[in-house]
């Protein structure tokens, strides 16, 4: 009797092993059966990734810096941010990290682009119905909190090691903020404005694209910003499954205790993060600039 209370009544060791083996076996079967077709499905993505990375590497470095500077200026309209971006990239190149930085830039850009492409529609869907929101929110919670290594296992089992599984890992981690903030932004749109749109006979589509999405843009942009930041923070983990870039030297530095190498590449990631953060944030702020303070 006492034993029942001190020893948790758990599944027997053998049953537990069987349970795990069944799941592992089933998933192995699944990956054997569908792994190849999945790989085939993702192959255009892989081709695009490789092509984009090569393009970045083949482009003369002054041109890349000019493009970064132009983006910084268009996004932030600030000389400080533009000059800072140029300086950071010059320093990165000077310290011999140009190629890794380009590889990281490639996967981050593609990941962000895909997050926007997938995340905004999901966020819109979520804002349309409370049931949808109740359904998707826990999924997002899991995606954000589950240790990345855990979902790396099935991804690697299915697709092996390489750019695509790395990209998927980044997507899983980085997509929740843009979904959440799109949903939130649309839900926060002023009810009075929506009522006015209704009163003038706007259709649901006219309301969505003419009122809700434009008014949610600042929030959606905060989501894009967060997504970029989270994608960057996955660089090192992604490099564990074969994504080239600034994460690889960091990994090497960890296993060999190379302090300087680790710091240099780590700081390069930080520099990228700060540049993109400032550019996307000030762009988001400029989106609401003309809204003024509002009266009454």
């Amino acid at each position: 009797m006492w034993e029942f209370l001190t020893e948790f009544p758990s599944l027997g060791r053998r049953d537990l092993a069987d349970f795990k083996n069944t799941i592992d076996g089933a998933f192995r079967e699944f990956s054997r059966a569908y792994g190849e077709s999945l790989e085939l499905f993702f192959s255009p993505l892989l081709k695009f990734l490789v092509w984009f990375e090569k393009l970045l590497l083949a482009t003369p470095w002054p041109l890349i810096i000019a493009i970064i500077a132009a983006l910084a200026w268009l996004g932030a309209r600030s000389w400080k941010i533009t000059a800072g971006s140029i300086g950071a990239f010059l320093l990165i190149g000077f310290m011999g990290m140009w190629e890794d930085t380009m590889a990281t830039l490639a996967i981050i850009s593609v990941a962000t682009f895909l997050c926007i492409l997938i995340g905004i529609p999901i966020g819109i869907l979520m804002s349309r119905s409370d049931r949808m929101q109740a359904l998707i929110t826990p999924v997002l919670d899991v995606m954000q909190t589950i240790p990345s290594f855990v979902y790396l296992i099935p991804v690697v089992m299915l697709l092996g090691i390489g750019k695509v599984p790395g990209l998927l890992a980044v997507l899983i981690y980085a997509i929740p903020p843009i979904v959440r903030l799109t949903n939130l932004g649309i839900r926060l749109v002023d009810k009075d404005v929506l009522e006015a749109a209704d009163a003038f006979g706007a259709s649901p589509r006219q309301k969505l694209w003419g009122v809700q999405v434009p008014l949610a843009l600042p929030n959606i942009f905060a989501g894009v910003n967060q997504t970029i930041m989270m994608a960057l923070s996955m660089v090192v983990i992604a490099s564990m499954i074969g994504v080239k870039g600034l994460g690889v030297p960091v990994l090497r530095a960890i296993s060999n205790q190379y302090l300087a190498l680790g710091l240099m590449n780590g700081l390069a990631i930080v520099a990228l993060a700060i540049i993109f953060d400032r550019i996307s944030q000030s762009y988001g702020k400029r989106l609401q600039a003309h809204r003024g303070q509002g009266h009454g």
Partner: protein, 351 residues
């Protein structure tokens, strides 16, 4: 002449007909409707069933080309009532007809059509699109209708000019003062050329001087546009100034309906008596409302004649000057219909 005849016929049919309208807010309004219809009060409904009675058996005929004011204190259900007319709120019971058409029978498409072409609305909190310029805001109803941009801008410019905002076309609402924002709201409401204009406490958020200005603009526009306007307000002065007809709501139910004269001279109950006690009666009561045909016989032949719609404030000096302190009152066709003495005028001011 034929047009006048047609107009005259049109004048007799209500533009908007509201019949036995009920609105109950809560988890299961339909279930509690019969209890309210059998006389349960608003407070009892809230206490025993936790449902709020928003509109309580309101029937109202709104005639075309008139300004119908719906007045009441906050919580009286007036803003709820006006939202039933374009079905921004679904009623729990009752019927609504616009030009004889049953609004509640309309499907989503018909309802959208109704909102796009037949009526427009002006809001207390303006409800402007903050990301669009004044020009685009005024043209919003037209854009929703699918009218092309050139035509939209043309009509938008016309109405921006009419409300006195020329030069501000490219400003954003956030850059304008409250009064200017509501001019944009009014222009947006007028731009679709809808017959019916719903105005929900449209001027309540503005300070008194600007409110008076906006009332003047509205009256001036109405003189040529002859729209059917439903105007919600909690301000009696505003109601008396604007309303051709005034309905007073209390706890969701209609307490009294009539023109300004009838309400001021014959308040239905203490609630309304309380409402009207501070107004300047001299500026509201018109001679025809107190003209007396019997007094005409004793009035001197040469007594001055005044039009029936002269307010007492303007009539009193004439009476004081007149022989026997009596004036004759004429109808709009010039016929003498009665007489008013200074004594009866002073009585009307004080009762």
């Amino acid at each position: 002449m034929a047009k006048d005849m047609a107009d005259a016929k049109e004048m007799t049919e209500p533009k908007i007909k509201i019949e036995n309208l009920y609105k109950i807010f809560g988890s299961n309004p339909k279930k509690h409707l019969p209890k309210v219809q059998h006389g349960m009060s608003k407070d009892d409904l809230l206490d025993t069933h936790n449902h709020v009675l928003g509109v309580h058996n309101v029937s109202l005929d709104i005639m075309p080309r008139q300004i119908q004011v719906v007045m009441g204190l906050s919580g009286s259900g007036k803003s709820t009532l006006i939202r039933h007319i374009n079905r921004l709120i679904e009623p729990t019971g009752g019927e609504i007809f616009i030009d004889g058409e049953d609004v509640l029978a309309m499907n989503a498409d018909q309802l959208r059509d109704l909102r796009r072409h037949k009526m427009s609305m002006v809001f207390q909190k303006f409800g402007l699109l903050p990301h669009r310029s004044v020009r685009e805001n005024v043209a919003y109803g037209l854009a929703v209708q699918g009218i092309d941009e050139v035509e939209r801008n043309k009509r938008s410019a016309h109405w921006i000019d009419r409300v006195g905002l020329s030069g501000y076309e490219d400003h954003y609402p956030g850059q304008l003062s409250g009064g200017m924002q509501q001019r944009v709201g009014l222009a947006r409401g007028l731009a679709t050329d809808a017959d019916i204009l719903l105005m929900d406490e449209a001027f309540s958020a503005l300070d008194p001087l600007i409110r008076y200005d906006m009332q003047s603009i509205l009256l001036e526009l109405q003189e040529e546009l002859h729209k059917t306007i439903v105007f919600i307000t909690h301000d009696l002065d505003e109601a008396l100034r604007l309303g051709d007809n005034i309905a007073i709501l209390r706890d969701g139910a209609m307490v009294q309906e009539g023109n300004a004269q009838q309400i001021v001279l014959n308040p239905a109950d203490d609630y309304i008596r309380d409402f009207i006690k501070d107004i300047n009666r001299g500026r509201v009561i018109q001679l025809h409302a107190i003209a007396n045909a019997a007094a005409l016989t004793s009035a001197p032949e040469d007594a001055p004649q005044l039009a029936g719609n002269t307010v007492l404030e303007d009539a009193l000096p004439v009476m004081a000057e007149a022989a026997d302190q009596t004036v004759k009152v004429t109808a709009s066709d010039g016929r003498v219909v009665g007489a008013v003495s200074l004594t009866s005028a002073i009585q009307a001011l004080h009762s």
